[in-house]
Amino acid sequence: MRESISKPIQRVDGSAKISGEAKYIGDMHFENMLFAKTLRSSRVKAKIKSIIKPELPEGYFIVDKDDVPGFNRMRTVVSDHPLFAEDNVEYIGQPILLVVGPERETIYDIITHISIVYDDLEPLYTLEEAEAKSTVFTDYHYDKGEPDKAFAVAVTIIEDEYHTGYQEHVYLEPQGMAAEYRDDTMFVYGSMQCPFYAEGALTEALGWDAKRIRVIQTVTGGAFGGKEEFPSLTACQVAVAALKTKRPVTLIYDRDEDIICSTKRHPSIVRYKAALNQNNDVIALDVDVLLDAGAYNGLSPVVLQRAIFSVTGVYNYLHLKVRGRNFMTNNVPSGAYRGFGAPQTIFGTEMLMHNIALKIGVDPLDYKMRHMLRRGDPTCMGGKIRDIVKLPEIITRVTEMSDYRNKVQNNVKYKGIGASLFLHGCGFTGNGEQTIQGKIILKKSGENVILKVSSTEMGQGAETVLRKIVAYSLDLPIEKVLCEAADTGLVPDSGPTVASRTTMIVGGLLRQACLELKDRWDEAEEFEVSRSYKHPDFLNWDNDTFQGDAYPVYSWGANVAEVEIDPVTYEINVKKISAVYDVGMPIDETTLRGQMQGGIVQGVGWATIEVMTTDKGKLIQKNLTDYKVPTSMDIPKIDCEFVSNPYEFGPFGAKCAGELPFVGAPPAVVAAVSNALNVPIYSIPITPEDLMEMDSHEN
């Protein structure tokens, strides 16, 4: 037997990235390549009356809606975003056309000489305005138990409202895409998470069969969800340009352009009504979730689904009434971002529990523990918690690591400690995995095994983890397990690299295929084994009523955050985060720790310093001078441990991990800030500006 699979190995992609050998899209050169730049809307909402174009020099092109041979929409959950604007523009930064040509300076010059005559229309700037005008994109409801009756008999009813803000991904590498049309095939290269999403979008934009389209992921410098659906837009734009110009075309954003036009985390308002019984326990919850989807719906409906399916967090409320709405505003479209809707509602629910506990005068952690889910309990959608819930063990450990009990009792002003409990549903929401039907291939080739998946490495360590699963399953050294390029012409569609599904779902399929390959190893020098996703029989889901198992299994965690508030400036100093997670089984502990630390840091950023707001449809923090993410100086001490709780259907027992740490950190940090100043907090990011104001009201 070999060592435990959790024992770390060297990252397989590490040396190429450190040495500079790795080729990002910006490093790629095509013969006769042209550059493209996007002309964008400067208006929040307007009718385009006319576009006055200068005479173009030889070899320069304008590419717009009239050049799209197929459907001028980006295909995603709701295919409503035009590739190039048609009659109207709906947000500042919306793409109208590309200027394409051999010299960037000339392209820039042409762009500045195109004038667009707009007729301004009445825009919607905020979620509140959108609610007042009822510009609803999506409206979901579900109930559990008998909420009306529960509210009728409630001893106390508590009403709270929580707000969360935008968040920009700030992946190290901005968006970039290139297309080359040759051999009657469109080759599209770029920084992305989901090559088959881009392929699907290209079939519609070009009106072509997928056989004539190949999408190839280039080395991707971070994504966090920001390269889930957005690259489908740029992929289609460059392909249309390559088709028109008959030359390879590249489109690469710089940071400022990327921030202005790329998707962001949905700002949210979550309203709660909680019914308390005579023991002050929550027996029923009425939740209203509002997300700002921006100008187009895109994949916001599924973000909203995860948001409303996560509203109960780790708690078992007997009665529920849940509503979720996506609103249309004239802001830049919101989209996928690590956590995918869950961080907004988990934050709200954790803070609600925290604030109720403070009102009734009990320790928030003890109060939360009175409501925790246990094995066998129904989920909020009437599914079932099938596996052991190790929260009690997790909480014991995290409170020991942080000395929570002692510190919370001897609390002094300006020093705070707070805890969060959380979960994350593993894999796609609802029947997503059945719809996608992920497929993998393992190819034996002499002494080597080649794994073929469309799951992408974007910095998170997927390639290391998947190769490791195969190597350990077949008892091969990792060097003998190779990974085919994420090229839609070479690999099957194992599904998008999203929803923390890659290790558990794709790794699980690889593991099954390995077992077959092992049995048949001596059959031939070269052969392939494949597997497609089969939904376990015991899981039920009805997508119309939202009843059943929204997720096959959950990963769990608890965080304790310790903060110090500067008594003069109210700056928040996050000193330490203690974290314990149940992700089933770590496949590679160092890679996993990297995910946990990164998720925590991103969560701390969202909760504290990452202020992004709009003023009349215009982003105020629109570059990295004004929009700040944590630096190494801002990162707290992070103590992180795992409890083992192997999942029967995950490879080596692994469940989901990538999004979980993001979900947990914000409520812990905010609970600690609340504890430090003894004030309730209803909105993030929570800033020194807010705290100074709140504390002066207290005094």
Binding site: R104, E257, T569, I609, Q621, T625, D626, T631, E689
Partner: protein, 283 residues
């Protein structure tokens, strides 16, 4: 096309400066950001560049007549490595930018950029730093307060260069410096406060107070300082409301993407108050 000059000596540099309209560039950490036009495009300089960061004449740091003479081309990192720069000034420099930027950015650039958020400025105002401005025809000495005429505006002549910054070789008894940024590293200033005093036999013999980022220029008032000097330290607490009220009239911050006017003003006054309370505790 961007043309550039890369002279070898200061004399040669001043000659070029007198003959051409050109833009001096030291580390370029302000200029390259201000003139950036976008990915892979040349920065939008209207004039030829005059590279000065490498000039040996601008790299010296010496004590003469109990004054520290700092070459304008010295990097922020050089200041941190120097043994003769007062610790509180180093603290200000240490909180600027990040190690890579500090390895490029010059002190002369921070002064000539004349941003209200320039982090070397509060200290230089507080010690009445003198600047040496040189041209082929003259050499003049101006105080930092005269040199900076407004946000991004200076009294630098067309043909002049800032060659030296002169500060007293003096360390105060009590030093207080606080930069409030959006985060701990690589952050522009929301508000900054600097306070220094000398105390002898329980009496304040000198006091310097400067605020940055909260007005078009650094806020320093000799007049208010004069009313504080001479007071016994134990009277500080009772004097606080009056002192705060006087400074409150001078601090006129704005709302922007990084903070609010209300916060900037309050935090500035709170820092001042904290400093004055510390004095009260000093013997």
């Amino acid at each position: 096309m961007v043309d550039g000059f890369r002279p070898v000596t200061l004399q040669e540099t001043l000659n070029i400066r007198s003959q051409y309209n050109c833009t001096p560039i030291a580390g370029g950490t302000d200029l390259m950001v201000q003139k950036a036009r976008g990915f892979a495009l040349k920065p939008g300089f209207e004039q030829p560049l005059l590279f000065i960061g490498h000039l040996p004449e601008l790299q010296k740091i010496v004590i003469k007549n109990n004054q520290i003479h700092i070459g304008s081309g010295l990097l922020l990192t050089d200041l941190l490595n120097s043994e003769i720069i007062p610790e509180i000034f180093k603290e200000a420099v240490r909180l600027m930018a990040s190690p890579p930027s500090r390895n490029l950015a010059s002190i002369g650039g921070n002064i000539c950029n004349a941003s209200p958020a320039g982090d070397t400025l509060p200290y230089l105002y507080a010690v009445d730093a003198k600047l040496v401005l040189k041209s082929v025809r003259s050499e003049r000495l101006v105080s930092i307060g005269e040199f900076i005429t407004g946000p991004k505006q200076t009294a630098l002549g067309q043909d002049e260069l800032l060659t030296e910054i002169i500060i007293p070789n003096k360390i105060f008894n009590v030093n207080y410096y606080k930069k409030v940024g959006q985060r701990k590293g690589m952050s522009l200033t929301k508000a900054v406060f600097l306070g220094m005093t000398d105390i002898k036999n329980d009496n304040l013999t000198d006091i310097r107070i400067a605020f940055g980022s909260v007005s078009p220029k650094i806020v320093r008032s000799r007049e208010i300082e004069r009313t504080i000097v001479g007071k016994p330290t134990f009277e500080m607490i009772t004097a606080i409301p009056e002192i705060l009220a006087k400074y409150a009239l001078l601090i006129r911050p704005i709302d922007d993407a990084r903070s609010t006017a209300v916060y900037r003003k309050k935090v500035s006054l709170r820092l001042l108050e904290d400093f004055l309370r510390k004095i009260d505790k000093e013997k």
